[in-house]
Symmetry: C2
Subunit: 167 residues, 2 copies
């Protein structure tokens, strides 16, 4: 199976290549949108993208600090705002954390977010039917939908297998 919105990446996938692809896409996207790609933005984006797990703003501060770059919270939040508005990073509302968008979709993409409670990995899964049904329900309630958050927590296949090894 090979779709544009894959399942959780295998643990041994080529992370370096994966990261480079994301980086290239990110630069291109910012270029299109007239958003400057600065050194600091790149560092932040790479830190977010390096982890397939959601990271908090303060996680990022810590990591950058270890790399010798001290950044204040407000700077991180500003940069995360920029990356979010470019659609390169999404916020995981249910965890007050951020993760890199690994797919090449617009901000209005019909995807939902799946988070593994065990290993914390995050993926986006295509779910146009779900988004349409949500739109229909909103419309039925006479509600003008602007932004939708769909976050599912549970177990990824790997962790589910590990938790129930007897079967």
């Amino acid at each position: 199976m090979s779709t544009s919105f894959p399942a959780f990446p295998p643990k041994d996938h080529d992370h370096c290549a994966c990261l480079n692809t994301a980086l290239g896409r990110a630069k291109a996207r910012c270029n299109e949108q007239g958003i400057k790609w600065t050194a600091l933005r790149e560092q932040v984006f790479l830190e977010v993208a390096t982890s397939h797990k959601p990271v908090s703003a303060y996680d990022l501060i810590d990591v950058l600090a270890k790399n010798g770059k001290r950044v204040a919270p407000v700077s991180i939040y500003r940069i995360l705002d920029v990356l979010q508005s470019a659609g390169l990073v999404h916020r995981l509302e249910s965890r007050n954390a951020f993760f890199a968008c690994m797919a090449d979709h617009g901000s209005a993409a019909h995807t939902i977010t799946l988070v593994c409670e065990d290993c914390d990995r995050v993926i986006e899964a295509a779910a146009p039917d779900a988004l349409h049904a949500i739109a229909a329900a909103a419309e039925a309630a006479n509600f003008l939908m602007r932004h939708t958050v769909v976050e599912v927590s549970g177990l990824c296949a790997d962790c589910a297998a590990r938790e129930a090894p007897s079967c």
Copy 2:
């Protein structure tokens, strides 16, 4: 139109009756589940339910303080946990806030949450199709779904009408 999951309540609805119904249901629910209905829990529940808007834990502390009852954050969070586990109060992840469940459904109810960006009112809308589609997408990704958050922000009918009066 009259469903069990109504649209936003009219601004002039009988809030007092609405509150009493919710209160009765809350007590009954706790009784069923073997959860004690204490004076403090009642106060907290009523404060949450009195507002159709999401309230933060610290909002609740402030309101209770005005009513002469000083409560520490930890107590509020504990009580909110209890009310949430009883399905009487839900957390609005996208706002770090809480709102009372006005419908008589279990915690696994097939509802989504609609929040008006303008007036901040919250309702839950039935959306079984949406939830089923989400389940299908999760399954397709080989993901064992445990908990789902669906929060839609936008404009309720009243506010949409107010924002676009020319039409």
